[in-house]
């Protein structure tokens, strides 16, 4: 039982994280491990400063807490400070995955999930190296605060990634197929999926040509649109960039027109997948927050500190990548809402442009960058030859206004490798998605 002192706000977050990682390279087992790591992150606030401790000594949490109290200065008005006023107190337990826990799935079954599908890579002379990866994670979180919170909830994801490196002489190409699910039984990758990937990749390897750098109409596939939403606008919606900055508040005033009328982007911790965060790492309950609604700035993402500074409501977006770090404002699942056109109608509107089907990574400041994998020319509304594109770039606000069409179905993705990075904290489990998105012009090089 943790004893909290008067004169301070304090909370303790404990995560018991189970992970599995299995890797085959060229069919040979290279890694097979299951880990359980239990750590705690302790916070004390005295109304002026936060004091944190990250520790693996779970038997010493009280001592760690006492040490932080010594660094801080007692303030018997701390519960009246705007930050502490914003912190919620919940007494809830939400254990969703106990009956379908990846901890209970035998290691042999996880290995077999990979080995049973490796045959899809056989017989292709262009494949020089293959990697098959299985990852899972089950986290049991427990959160206590001096405001009376006691929350217990769990999180689970599992997934597989199949990668291939191709070569035709000096011409090379790498690609991968990833699938994820919240339970092992729901994880689905068929041999046909993989054979389809190999067939498309070989065509790309043999036929992709460089593009002439310039500005072109593009259509982003849902997975690319999701990364675009995350990088181009999601990070700008994280309110810690606005704390104490009057200019930012004016520039980011709610109600300001920031994109095309058809554009709506939201973030939600309630969606099943990598971005599922029912309570954030300050104990705030998750919700759905529109960042852009019909082209207009509609909201932003908050921790208690940023919500207090900006005089807005908490949103459940204070997250740390693990108990090694303090919670900061982060996204959960960031999604562009679907529009009203069919996929065919979107493509029919492009006489010459490019279809960005796959993505390696993206980043975003005032200029955003997307590094695509598979790309195709669009000619007279039809998908044409494969092309090589190093990066797509653009000014965020110009590009948000250049969105001219959205397809009518939205897909949401959870990657099983990598994650979102912000400053020192990487990789954070997030999800993203959207429909097919048509943009009138983007810079391609």
């Amino acid at each position: 039982m943790i004893k909290f002192r008067q004169g301070f706000y304090a909370d303790v977050r404990v995560e018991d994280r189970f992970t599995t990682s299995i890797r085959y390279r060229n069919g040979s087992l290279e890694e097979c491990k299951s880990s359980s790591v239990k750590k705690a992150f302790i916070r004390v606030y005295d109304g002026t400063m936060w004091y944190y401790s990250s520790t693996y000594k779970l038997d010493d949490i009280q001592e760690e807490l006492e040490a932080l109290y010594k660094n801080a200065t007692a303030n018997f008005g701390v519960y009246s400070t705007p930050v502490v006023q914003k912190l919620e107190a919940h007494n809830k337990q939400k254990l969703v995955f106990v009956d379908n826990c990846v901890k209970d799935v035998p290691e042999e079954a996880k290995r077999a999930f990979l080995t049973q599908r490796l045959a899809a890579f056989e017989g292709c002379g262009y494949i020089k190296m293959t990697t098959a990866l299985y990852n899972d994670r089950y986290s049991l979180y427990e959160f206590f605060s001096s405001k009376g919170s006691h929350i217990k909830y769990d999180y689970q994801m599992c997934g597989a990634s199949f990668s291939a490196s191709y070569a035709d002489g000096e011409n090379t190409f790498d690609d991968n197929l990833q699938r994820s699910a919240t339970t092992f039984g729901a994880l689905a990758v068929t041999e046909d999926d993989l054979k389809g990937m190999v067939e498309e990749d070989v065509n790309y390897l043999l036929n992709a040509k460089p593009v002439e750098p310039g500005s072109y109409p593009v259509i982003l596939a849902p997975v690319v649109a999701g990364v675009f939403a995350h990088e181009s606008f999601g990070h700008k919606s994280e309110a810690d960039f606005m704390v104490g900055d009057e200019t930012m508040r004016r520039e980011w005033e709610i109600g300001k027109k920031v994109g095309a009328d058809i554009l709506s982007i939201y973030d939600s911790g309630l969606i099943e997948g990598c971005g599922y965060v029912p309570y954030d790492d300050e104990g705030t309950k998750a919700g759905k927050v529109y960042l852009i609604k019909n082209g207009v700035l509609a909201g932003r993402l908050h921790s208690a500190a940023t919500a207090a500074d900006l005089g807005e409501a908490v949103t459940g977006n204070a997250r740390g990548v693990s108990c090694d770090f303090e919670p900061i404002v982060r996204m959960t699942s960031t999604v562009i809402e679907a529009g009203d056109k069919t996929e065919e109608e979107l493509f029919a509107g492009v006489s010459h442009g490019y279809f960005i089907k796959g993505i390696k990574h993206g980043s975003g400041m005032s200029t955003f960058t997307l590094a695509p994998s598979l790309c195709y020319e669009i000619v007279d509304g039809k998908i044409g030859s494969p092309v090589k594109i190093a990066v797509l770039t653009g000014n965020v606000f110009e590009t948000l206004n250049d969105i001219v069409g959205l397809s009518d179905k939205c897909e949401i993705f959870s990657f099983v490798t990598g994650g979102c990075g912000k400053m020192e904290q990487w990789p954070l489990n997030v999800a993203f998605g959207g429909p097919y998105v048509a943009i009138s012009k983007m810079n391609i090089s």
Binding site: E30, K33, P210, T369, V391, M423
Partner: protein, 406 residues
């Protein structure tokens, strides 16, 4: 049965800065132990966080042998070596006052800007022992300065950054360095008409470094395929696994498998020639290649290749002398960027300065750079040198020619 143990102990203090004020202080401690056993051509691994019963851990590792993960059994032979690099380190009570003083000086010296993000100090010890008699220990500490800077009145989430790792803390030099960037920040210049050299960070090598990994190279999917022993870049390019303990990034003189290097370095690219591949014990054995000292491992994982100790070595003593006192475009901040599998680079530049005679003189408009990696590091290369515009920031730059897309 061969056995090895790696213990890593990290203590760090971290200060967070928000809107020109220190608003939090974090204490972190971490202790990781891994025991690996080798028998019958396989590896068994067990790891622990925190204090542990090593005998029990060794037994767990032995049980993991049944997983049948193939791995070479050879271990580094014999030898004891200890390197304790004792640099300045803030004790728990010293960190916040020192950082408050620095932030105060920055806010006072540059009232038109807002400073944020982190200053960390880290103490790290790695201890490797094996059943062949090896006993290696490294201990070091460092400061990581990572400041984001925003001009007051700017709508960007940040406009520029200042970051470096150093084995000492010198607030005056940090303020001086930041002044190099900010004193000319409002001097907005047009893009020069003439073609100028560009000064790009060495991170651009990340796009080609994976092609030097043994598995990728030997599989035939490397851009450098078949060129081991051949000239692939300009003679001024040398790319080393650098494990000398004068590094500021806490890379020990041994890798995570206890591999040490002659002179604590291994040349992957030597004078432009692909001299070696990035290896660890498994890839070296599989392909009969020398060890490059590049093994990296999770606390309970099978070792694999890592690239933390890779360094592009300067070819020239002074950037100013290299450029003959002339002008160049200094790329201070990029936004993403990538390379196609043909080696074509696209590099969006978020912030660039005009560099002239060893100084930054003003800010250039946003643009992007494009070229091919073999040109950037080949015929177009002018040289590689430390950025002498700064006193404290330890930055190596590639001076080369690239297409500037305005």
């Amino acid at each position: 049965m061969n056995q090895e143990k790696l213990t890593q102990n990290t203590v760090s203090y971290s200060v967070n800065i928000t809107n020109n004020a220190v608003d939090s202080f974090r204490i972190s401690s971490d202790l990781k132990t891994v025991i690996r056993v080798y028998d019958g051509g396989c590896i068994g691994i067990a790891g622990a966080i925190g204090e542990c019963d090593e005998d029990a851990l060794a037994e767990q590792a032995k049980e993991k042998l049944t997983q049948g993960i193939p791995y070479p059994e050879s271990l580094p032979q014999g030898g004891e070596r200890t390197e304790v690099v004792e640099n300045e380190f803030f004790e728990e009570g010293e960190m916040v006052p020192a950082c408050r003083a620095l932030v105060g000086e920055l806010a006072c010296a540059f009232p038109g800007f807002i400073f944020a993000n982190k200053i960390n100090t880290i103490k790290y010890t790695a201890h490797y022992v094996n059943s062949a008699g090896c006993d290696y220990c490294y201990s070091g500490n460092t400061f990581v300065i990572s400041l984001t800077i925003k001009a007051k009145g700017s709508a960007n989430i940040m406009d520029l950054g200042y970051g470096t790792t150093q084995n000492y803390f010198d607030a005056k030099k940090i303020v001086s360095d930041v002044g190099v960037l900010l004193n000319v920040y409002e001097n907005k210049l047009p893009m020069p008409e003439e073609e100028l050299p560009v000064l790009v960070p060495t991170e651009v090598l990340q796009y080609i470094a994976t092609d030097m990994i043994a598995e990728k190279y030997m599989a035939g999917s490397s851009l450098l395929g078949g060129k081991l022993g051949e000239q692939v870049f300009n003679k001024k390019v040398s790319f080393n696994v650098y494990r000398k303990t004068d590094n500021t990034t806490l890379d020990p003189f041994f890798d995570d498998e206890g591999t040490t290097l002659e002179g604590d370095q291994c040349s992957i690219i030597k004078d432009g020639v692909l001299n070696a591949l990035i290896t660890y014990r498994r890839s070296a054995a599989n392909f009969s290649l020398p060890l490059s000292g590049s093994a990296s491992s999770d606390f309970d994982g099978v070792p694999t290749f890592g690239n933390s100790a890779l360094r592009l070595m300067p070819s020239d003593d002074s950037l100013k002398a290299l450029l003959g006192g002339g002008r160049a475009i200094y790329v201070a901040m990029t936004s993403g960027g990538d390379m196609t599998r043909s080696g074509d680079l696209g590099l969006p530049v978020q912030l660039a300065y005009l560099y002239e005679d060893g100084r930054l003189v003003g800010v250039l408009p946003e643009f992007s750079l494009s070229s091919n990696i073999f040109e950037v590091l080949g015929d177009s290369l002018i040289g590689i040198a430390k950025n002498d515009a700064f006193q404290f920031m330890d930055e190596t730059l590639i001076a080369t020619k690239m297409k500037v897309n305005k």
